[in-house]
Amino acid sequence: MMARDQARPLYQHPLGTSPVPLGWLPATSVLAGLGLLSVAFANTLGLADSPFADIAFWAGIFAIIGPGAWRLFDRAPDRRERIGILAVMAIALYIVKLLHSPTSFTLYDEMQHLRTAQDIALTGHLFAENPLLLVSPRYPGLEVATDVIGTATGTSTFQAGLVVVGAARLLLALAMFLFFELVTRNDRVAGIATFVYMANPNFLFFDAQFGYESIAVGFLAVVMYLIALSDGRWSSGAAAAVIPIAGVIVTHHISTYALIAFLVTWSFVWWLAPSRSLSGPGPLRLTVITIVGATAWLFAVAPLTISYLGGRFADMLALISLLLGDIESRELFRATGGMIAPEWERIFAWGSVFLILGLLPIGLWRLWRELRHDPTAITLGLVAMVYPVTLALRLTQQGAEEAARSSGFIFFGVALVVALAVTAPVPAALRLRAIARPALVTIVVVMFMGGAIVGVPRWVRIPGPYLAGADTRSVERQGIQTATWMLEHLGPERRVVADRVNRILTGLFGRQRPVSNFADQVRTYELFFGPDVGDKERSIIERGDVEYIVVDRRLAGVRPLAGPYFESGEDRRVAQAGGLTLEALTKFEDVPGVDVIFDSEDMSIYDVRDIATGVRP
């Protein structure tokens, strides 16, 4: 073992102890601060429904990324300046999400995870059932870390969670730069690659939210960095990677499987590499540890992951159906509610995609020419080659979400390959030096903006007035007060049926037990699509042991932007046509045995226990 450990000197980052000039770092910090101020005003304008909100938002984003990107392409900066600029950009872009919802977590997935965090804080123990996202309590890493911070300081889950995800964001930027630097031996390419990673559609919002992937991707980056740093030699630091690997396993299922896929590929490429006799043992040992740990966690703690993810993998097979012509392709950039992205947004989004597709072959060619003896670089190149497949998946209704979710992982490879492409030497004969840097910075900025546009639609990106059936835009005082009323007057854990947004609100603020097809395999959404209350509706109430129905009259006639009125599985055509009627929603009012126990301006609660059991408890 020692002989192998000594086979090749490990790469060391250039340390340098000379006084560090900060270069552009202070100036980029000020511009990032101004950019954030602009984004904050954009949100204010958005809440007032002003058309100028978009201009202020994108001006702010440009102030955050533009100067930093320009400097990263420069050859002059010290690597420490590059690291500082990347850290400022990563944190500033995280704060963009904070400015969106500065007092609480209001994104749909965040509220699902908040229920798990709330359960842990209330009971002090893990694994309580979360009817909003059954799998969440089985991967409690984020919520546990948040609770540890919250418990020690007495701060709220929001404050503690904000800081934990922020720390993970900083970890991601630092570890990714260091990892890419090890692979390329070039801090300029590493800095650009890290910036290109930030252009992935999930970076601005999805991986900045209070959700399990946000913290897991940071762990992935540090695991890869530690393995690359040690060449897999146990005594040289690979052992330390076991801690973040455990962190990934207890935090997020998809990240765990993405890590396994990456490590298996990496090990295989390492085994095939002609220079392996000179290398350390590679990632094989940690690959085995990860597989054993993930399998043990899956079967001992989180077996329901199989059914949860099984459906998602099946969704990806829709691509085959699309190729066979069995299904029609999805219309891109159009929400269920019919809202279509503005033309300039579509141009940027397509531009981003085509730029990446165009740069991939160049980057792969350069990777093969200069780095083909490095198994890590080859593995990243293979990961990048999956990118076009994920684009094809976006054309299917079923696979679009899976494709979107994968970008946080695929971009580990895409970032490196694109960075290699945009830093490839330009032949002097072309005389492009004068315009090369502005052109390349424009390319990566377009890539970033296009990625952000693909990642989150405009109605999520910028806050605004209430919209029915629009997830974060539907979270407002009336719904929250109704949920709180339920907790105070009906008590917790009552079995309720509600629409997509009010299901989350009643489950989170009301601590109720929503009954759904997702959690109970009872198609409760079918309660609302028929004209009257017949045997079918009574049977659903009976099977779901439903006690209360929460109705939000604002949904009537609306085409919900978030997709379904209630949940996946309902007839999409009704939502697309805005076919939910007020009569169908409120039909329970006149049914004998049903009490209308609560009324606010737009919401009612029906007590249907007599329908469910025939006898009031």
Binding site: A40, L99, V148, A152, L162, A168, L229, G237
Partner: protein, 247 residues
Amino acid sequence: MIAVPFVLGAIALVLLAIIDAGIVLAIAAVIVLVVIPGLALTSRLVPTTGLGAASWAAVALGLGLGAAMLIGIAADLTPLGIRFAPVILLAISIGWIVVLFRRSGGAWPRIARPRVSTRDASLLALGLLLTVSAYGVARGSAAGAAAGTGDPSSLTQLWILPMSDDTVQLGIHNGGDEAMTYRLVLESDDAELGEFPEIALEPGTSWQETVPAASLPAGSVEARLYDAADPATPIRAVSLSDPPSGG
């Protein structure tokens, strides 16, 4: 001149503490419970001779966050669960284990002395101040948007609940931002059973009244709520199809 960055930085921190003191506390907690244990683990588990400050920071954050999770999961196994005492005890225990099983050869990073001019420091502090100001603006806008609902009665709740002690509870909550005066009428088959002509509620307050079920007729009972300023148009209505033990 040297005072400029200190003043700007101090203003930023005070402003952040005023806007949200909890975040300052949580940042401090992350340093104590994540970064410091992470640094200790890094110094023991990773050969540190070749690591620069950025590598130290990244590895320490990764190991510290992972350790915080594992501490939480271990605390879950204790009878007290994930509470203050077990969390702190486990954190200290891990610290001691790390110290006792220290590896030799670890070294703290040779951190280059930053060459920070007064101008640079002022700009960094200004960046921080602008960031905190942006947060303040966002919070102010969010609070303003939540408050501005237009119709003062839009957040009024009315309820009627059959209780287990053979009574019926009537309730009104004014969840809006303005004081309201209401009129509540109890009816059965269009016959008025009773009236509460003037119920004044300040924002955020509730009114409740319990009615014996025996005093109610058989059949459905309906409660209608009116804004006292417009007594002809009901703004809310609730009903019981068959009150418990109804007369």
